[in-house]
């Protein structure tokens, strides 16, 4: 647009990006790089810290436990989130906004406050225990167990399942279902053969995203789980502050980071765009 900018001056857009690149690069980029550098022996290009992870007898066990917990969380959120997302496509704009607000609630509120709430609920003689007692499930201990942690984590991760799902489901024309039923399909079969396959992109995106984020949880397992059943995040923390094994922590951290990035990139490709992950639209009405 300008006809008079001197040729040698770079486009002003780049200048505007300098503060952000400096801040993020310096405070986040440099430490992560240093962590990686340490993990390969600070220039020796050794893999011993990585191989140590796999031979110390603890890391692998914890990784497996974390993966299992994350898988359970993913399944729970899928089972709960799919109907919720489907409901969001059926209701009018006012109710939809309400539903969006509700699904984002665990998000906005402080992690501590939320986990404290779960602590109260799951504590001995807490609400959840008494609720289950109504159905005859006595002596169910939830506080300090993997099940309790799963329950708490699912609540927080539900938005990451619901929103990509809603995005995908919103694009499916419901008339297809009606068409299938008019052709003679019973409702469940119509759903399974027509509707669900069309939503597969959103399902995959949501599943990958939820699983990935679940693996990185720290506060919830720390507050609600038991120390004997630590997850990978807590292990990483211990390595750093208690064992002071900075190189090993660097290796573990880099490993977790790389796996996370790959999984998120994969989710991105399968249909959960960055827009869904990073910027969730709190839609409060249609644009006129």
């Amino acid at each position: 647009m300008m006809t008079s900018r001197p040729r040698w001056l770079p486009h002003p857009g780049w200048l505007l990006l300098i503060p952000a690149v400096a801040l993020l690069g310096g405070i986040l980029g440099v430490p992560l790089w240093q962590s990686f550098w340490r993990s390969i022996g600070s220039g020796d290009w050794t893999l011993e810290h990585y191989s140590a992870l796999f031979t110390d007898g603890v890391t692998l066990k914890v990784l497996a436990r974390t993966g299992q917990a994350a898988a359970v969380v993913t399944i729970v959120t899928l089972l709960l989130g799919y109907p919720y997302a489907y409901l969001m496509t059926r209701v009018g704009p006012l109710w939809r906004s309400v539903l969006v607000v509700m699904v984002l609630m665990p998000f906005w509120t402080s992690a501590l406050a939320r986990n404290f709430g779960w602590l109260i609920l799951l504590y001995d003689n807490g609400l959840v225990q008494r609720f289950l007692g109504l159905f005859g499930f006595d002596d169910v201990v939830l506080y300090g167990t993997a099940q309790g942690v799963t329950l708490a984590m699912s609540q927080v991760l539900l938005p990451f399942m619901v929103l990509p799902l809603f995005s995908a489901l919103g694009g499916i024309d419901r008339k297809l279902l009606l068409a299938a039923r008019s052709l003679g399909s019973p409702p469940l079969v119509a759903f399974w053969k027509v509707y669900f396959p069309l939503s597969r992109g959103g399902v995959v995106a949501g599943v990958i995203l939820t699983f990935t984020l679940a693996c990185g949880f720290y506060v919830t397992p720390a507050l609600i789980g038991s120390p004997r059943e630590s997850l990978i995040a807590q292990l990483l923390g211990q390595r750093t502050t208690q064992l002071l094994d900075f190189a090993g922590a660097g290796a573990l951290g880099t490993l977790v980071l790389v796996v996370t990035l790959v999984l998120v990139w994969w989710a991105n490709r399968m249909g959960g765009s960055m827009a869904t992950i990073g910027v969730v639209a709190g839609q409060t009405g249609t644009r006129r």
Binding site: V103, L112, A113, L127, T240, G253, T260
Partner: protein, 304 residues
């Protein structure tokens, strides 16, 4: 005109119709199934209940975490506002969040404007993904790396360390909201303002900035709340002399049982919910009112 209908399938006589029939007739052709509404409601409760439960807890008399709370008392709130440790951590959180939000807002807005000007270039898209990267990284990985580096740079337990770390973490959120606001910004406006005699700087001040102000404000609030509630990094770069509120809350469960956390949690939940509800209603009302270039908000925060 002949019809194919025989008299036997003519419309039924409009005698007494049952309530159910009339109710079905009043609903739209494709109503939401009842079972779906029930399931949805239960899931909604699951989402909201654990957060809200802290509120009644905060009025408890007892010093344990047992629910339902016994008695009605404000002693937890009193403790929160008089105990030095709680007050100090609250004050620290406020200062850190304010500074971090201020920095993140300026840095994030600037970056969003820069990327907007460079849009379309592959290098710009790559940079945008790179700058959004902290949102997706597990906090623990960032926390441990930052902690170790901060040890060397003598930033552990300092205000500067907290502010810088939180500012870096919050910037992507501001970047996201402002980018969203710019997405609905018509570049023709800037041509119009230029043709009317406004220099590029004046155009920015009088046209661009007002139209993205909602995005910037939302980003600032988001940055503040992100920093205020941030717990994982805060746990690692703390020192006995400098802690933020979430760290104090964490201690009150793990280190020594202190039910004041109920009061603290309750205050946070109510305050933050109010802020976001106000922002929601404000942008809902503005949608019908002219003047906003954006009515999308980003409401993602760190969760762990």
């Amino acid at each position: 005109m002949t019809t194919l209908l025989e008299p036997s399938v003519a419309a039924p006589a409009p005698a007494r119709t049952s309530f159910l029939t009339r109710w079905r007739a009043r609903r739209s052709a494709d109503p939401t199934p009842v079972w779906l509404t029930i399931v949805g409601t239960m899931v909604a409760l699951y989402l909201v209940l654990p957060t809200l439960i802290v509120i009644p807890m905060s009025f408890s008399e007892a010093s344990t975490f047992v629910f339902p709370p016994r008695g009605h008392s404000l002693w937890l709130y009193r403790n929160f506002f008089t105990n030095d440790r709680w007050l100090d951590s609250l004050r620290n959180s406020f200062i850190v969040a304010s500074c971090a939000a201020a920095i993140a807002t300026v840095v994030g807005t600037s970056a969003a404007l820069g990327l907007h000007q460079l849009r379309g270039r592959r290098s710009a898209r790559f940079l945008q993904s790179a700058l959004m990267f902290p949102i997706l990284t597990p906090s623990i990985v960032i926390a441990t790396a930052v902690y170790i580096s901060f040890l060397r740079w003598h930033l552990v337990g300092t205000l500067a360390g907290y502010v810088l770390a939180h500012a870096a973490l919050a910037t992507p959120f501001v970047l996201a909201t402002v980018t969203s606001a710019l997405g609905t910004f018509d570049p023709t406006y800037l041509r119009a303002s230029a043709s009317l005699g406004a220099s590029p700087w004046r155009s920015f001040l009088t046209v661009t900035l007002p139209l993205i102000s909602r995005g910037v404000a939302t980003g600032a609030v988001l940055a503040f709340v992100t920093s205020f509630d941030e717990v994982v990094i805060a746990l690692f770069i703390r020192s006995p002399r400098f802690q933020t509120l979430p760290v104090q809350m964490y201690n009150s469960v793990v280190v020594e049982i202190d039910p004041t956390i109920a009061a603290s949690s309750s205050l946070i939940v109510v305050t933050v919910s109010l802020i976001f509800l106000v922002a929601l209603l404000g942008s809902a009302r503005r949608t019908s009112r002219p003047g906003s270039a954006n009515n999308r908000r980003s409401v993602v925060r760190r969760t762990r």
